[in-house]
């Protein structure tokens, strides 16, 4: 059999070199493709990209309300707990919310390398430490001094994270009111033991979670109330929650008409991005109020009806 003199004569070393070369080419192509996809995401979804890189900014704004839509007395609006939505997302937003009379500073809590931060979405592992720019929970805690309460919205469920939150609550001054909200019943049950003075709210994003809560007697014994997506709350649910003596906080409402509807349903607190609405809830009297679990209080009467 004749051998082709032009054919490459591979030795084992050449074969290894060729294989390495192929691997490098494939890897380089994969990296280039991945980077191009990421570039596209950065360009076409800047808000989403912001969330997993430097951290999402609070969506807080001030748009004056239509005062003709005010249907309750100043005292009735002032009785509602105004929760400034994600105002703990930056120190500037916390201070701005405080200046506008926010009763409650809401902080979305995440963990990064054993430290609690304020962020809507947990930063990426490994890279998060380099990219993330959100404030530490301790700093937001200090900046929110003077607010009636701080609401910690727990965004993670790992045991290490829950331990850190428990340590944080235990190490803080008991004179400041803290509300903790979570979607996980077991976390609330654990924190009830570690921080008994904390107001515990179950976060309810939909009807399914609400129904599950209504059938869970242990959970109902543990929690002080719920923080619920405002569209889930209707008259029937509101009556049930009132009968059980549970606090009801509704999120996120930026429309005064809906605020009035929710007040008729008897909610105790409303979360809003609009600082004008938050200011409306500040009422005439500023200072610390105590959050108490209601004892079957009737809904607020409309002054114009």
């Amino acid at each position: 059999m004749m051998s082709n003199p032009l054919a490459p004569r591979f030795t084992w070393a050449r074969r290894v070199a060729a294989a390495c070369r192929t691997v490098v080419v494939v890897l380089a192509c994969l990296v280039i493709s991945g980077c191009l996809v990421l570039l596209g995401i950065f360009v076409f979804d800047p808000d989403g990209s912001e969330e997993w890189t430097v951290g999402r900014r609070p969506n807080q704004y001030f748009t004056d309300i239509d005062h003709d839509l005010r249907t309750f007395s100043n005292d009735a609006y002032g009785a509602i707990w105004g929760v400034a939505h994600n105002s703990g997302g930056s120190i500037e937003a916390t201070l701005e919310a405080r200046i506008n009379g926010a009763d409650v500073i809401e902080v979305d809590v995440v963990e990064l390398d054993g430290v609690l931060y304020s962020a809507h979405t947990p930063p990426l592992p490994f890279l998060g430490q380099r990219w993330f720019r959100g404030p530490r929970l301790e700093r937001v805690w200090a900046a929110s001094f003077g607010a009636d309460a701080v609401m910690l919205d727990l965004k993670e469920t790992s045991p290490g994270y829950v331990r850190l939150v428990g340590d944080f609550l235990e190490s803080r001054s008991p004179t400041r009111q803290v509300i903790v909200s979570s979607r996980s019943p077991w976390i609330l049950q654990l924190l009830r033991v570690r921080a008994p003075d904390t107001v515990l709210l179950l976060s309810v994003p939909d009807d399914t979670v609400l129904r599950a809560m209504q059938n869970n007697e242990d959970l109902l014994e543990t929690i002080d109330g719920i923080t619920v997506r405002h569209t889930v709350l209707d008259a029937e649910n509101a009556v049930w929650l009132s009968d059980r003596g549970l606090l009801v906080f509704a999120w996120t409402v930026n429309d005064l008409k809906r605020v009035n509807e929710l007040m008729r349903l008897g909610v105790d607190g409303i979360t809003s991005d609009n600082l004008a609405i938050i200011n409306l809830f500040a009422g005439d009297v500023r200072g610390e109020r105590e959050i108490r679990r209601p004892s079957s209080t009737p809904p607020i009467e409309n002054q114009n009806e």
């Binding site: 192929t22 080419v25 380089a28 280039i32 980077c35 950065f42 430097v54 890279l127 380099r130 990219w131």
Partner: protein, 80 residues
């Protein structure tokens, strides 16, 4: 048979391989740079102000600087 070779001729030459790896490294660095500077900032343009991502402002300034440099250099060569 090695897939880098077609008809006995190497498809990915050494020069192309170096170029490919260089592009991959530069793109990874670019992604890191973008991610680290994706914060929204306000830029004051004398008569107006715009909100823009810091990284896009930096990239735009870099490109404007590069293009201006090339244009000035070519104008100078033409004059000389």
């Amino acid at each position: 048979m090695n897939d880098d070779n077609i008809g006995g001729r190497r498809l990915v030459t050494n020069r192309r391989l170096v170029w490919l790896v260089g592009v991959a490294i530069l793109l990874v660095l670019l992604i890191f740079f973008i991610a680290e500077n994706f914060v929204l900032v306000e830029i004051r343009l004398i008569v107006t102000r715009v909100q823009v991502r810091l990284v896009w402002a930096l990239v735009t300034a870099f490109l404007i600087g590069g293009v201006t440099g090339v244009l000035l250099a070519s104008m100078r060569r033409g004059r000389l």
